[in-house]
Symmetry: none
Subunit: 196 residues, 4 copies
DNA sequence: CATGAATGAGCATTCATTCAT
DNA sequence: AATGAATGAATGCTCATTCAT
């Protein structure tokens, strides 16, 4: 579809705000259209259906999210440093956009199973980034070489995700970014070669 | 309501199966009633409304789940051993009831925010169990004493939860229980005193 | 049915109160049963169905109502005096039982057409009483002899009924019985021989 | 709402017919929609809910009804003549639209108390018209000047209303308009100065 | 491209009535 | 006679999607 036309972005951005403010189940297409300043029918010139708005929203926002993290973690750091950067950037980005945080951590999970599979596909790219860093850590003999990498990357993601979800459910009342250090420690020590 | 009448359990059990097989949004009350072998109206003698079936289902099943884990982790083990038991029991119970696993990991999360808060309340008891074990580990000088316990228990839960969700989304095609060891290692090393 | 058993009256009286306090559409059989202190099923030992409670209620209460009026108007009065007694007794009885007034003037009229026909049958007896007085008035040469008696009795009933309904809808905030004189005057002058 | 769009009238007119033919409680929204030749959902573009169809129907039809009567009674007649015109026009209009007569005299009264209050508000305008004529009659020394005008206008309305209701309940088998004279006589003599 | 009026499938819940005890 | 748990039919309303303009 016309992913670069201005209305495409207008609709995506309207959707984030509407969903964050009204919740997933009260975010009718007509409400999103109104917020975006277009007619209901116009939505369907840019998106196949309502679910497509959500998938596109996630791909768009998460695409930028992951790109940013990829970019931040490509410098000449050690795997340990990269991991810290990863966690920090993850937290930083969601802390910077409260609406987006609500949508990704709470509202979008209320979508149906099918949509969640599509969302999971988007996340694969992120898991790959994590995987690479873990791999580097193993090469650097920083991490144990008998790790179940497939599992490890999930666990790392699970920790960060749970930390962010909690912060959102606690209405973002504490500082999320301050927790990056502790999460990082648990991961690094948890994977470390020296352990044992 | 009449939580000990046989029909109460019949309906809860029917709901688990129907939701697991049809997905949350295709699980009409009439479908649950039919599976339970009662009339539609009978549902409302035992539950306030449809959402109440879900809340009750979660409280009921998770209540047993947590009780089992509490029971398994109260013997005279070290904190390290208890943690292994915790992860193993967590995985074991969900692996043993595929329907329940689908419901808790995927379908129940599609419910609205309000319900999710109620679900979170049930989970608090589980987080307390984890917390106690972490505390013991600190007492035993097994774990660092400068841990952010509130965060740590979330991270531990997040790891297990993500591992199970992945297993469910991969259609339970691999053995979940075999991952308990690796998850346990990551946690124990991650929290360990000797690290550093 | 068992019209003289105490439970019959219990249920009728409970129905009047429940309907007056909750309105016709919020007066479920179970609510009436509870107020009457009997089980839901017991209602059906004394009444064919819910509509039968209402018809019986009306027959019962209106029976007494009409009897009282018949009794009050049989003394050796002139037709004019009898008419005053009629209006006064009509207003008096409804003013004396606020619950009944609400039920007959507002709530029972929300019933379906079929029930209203049955109610109308009960009223025929009342119309006959009015008719007799009008007839006497004509005999006494007090009223014109070319009156359409069928119509006149309806109009008299219509006036009283409207006066009471208004009083009920104004939440019975003024004194209904004081209006009897004025209503009586309008009727008597309206029917009078001397007019013309 | 869009009160001048053709579909608004279509739906109102369909509602009158459907309600008259099926009764209030058997007049499902879908039945009205079908008769009006629109989709069920279209109803809700023009009316807030089912009750709003009824209120609007009454306001619409009674608005015209009252306007017609106001118009007919503004010529240079005496109060006595105006009263006759009023009664005649009242009967004439309802006799001319049997469906509407059934709806206003029987079906609409089955609605809940709340709706009846709204209906009563519409009738206030009609009562004011009656009131003005009575007042004129008093000025003209045709009627007694000690009349309780508030009550009198109710009684006049009560008579006409009861006459029409009876005619409807007798399945409109006799000629309603012929009764106008008699009703008029009763009113005029009833209020007359010469009486007494 | 854009509009927005119109569509119509889909479903939780109530409550009068029954009947085994 | 009395109970009250169980029944199951019946319906107003929402909202994603379409399509004539």
């Amino acid at each position: 579809m016309n992913k670069n036309k201005p209305k495409y972005k207008q609709i995506i951005d309207a959707a984030v705000v509407v969903i964050a403010e009204n919740g997933y189940h009260s975010s009718q297409v007509s409400k999103i259209a109104k917020k975006a300043g277009v007619a209901d029918g116009t939505i369907y010139l840019y998106f196949k259906n309502k679910e497509d708005i959500l998938v596109s929203l996630f791909q768009d926002k998460m695409g930028q999210f992951i790109e940013k993290i990829e970019h931040e973690t490509t410098s000449g750091q050690s795997a340990e440093e990269k991991l810290l950067t990863l966690v920090e950037t993850h937290f930083e980005q969601l802390a910077a956009d409260h609406h987006l945080a609500i949508v990704t951590q709470l509202e979008l999970r209320q979508s149906n199973k099918e949509l969640r599979y599509k969302i999971n596909n988007v996340l694969k790219k992120y898991l790959a980034v994590i995987d690479n860093i873990v791999d580097e850590g193993i090469q650097e003999k920083l991490f144990r070489n008998n790790l179940n990498r497939r599992l490890v990357r999930q666990l790392i993601f699970g920790m960060m995700d749970e930390a962010v979800t909690n912060w959102v459910m606690k209405e973002q009342k504490y500082n999320l970014e301050e927790q990056a250090q502790d999460v990082h420690s648990l991961i690094v020590y948890g994977l470390a070669e020296s352990s044992k």
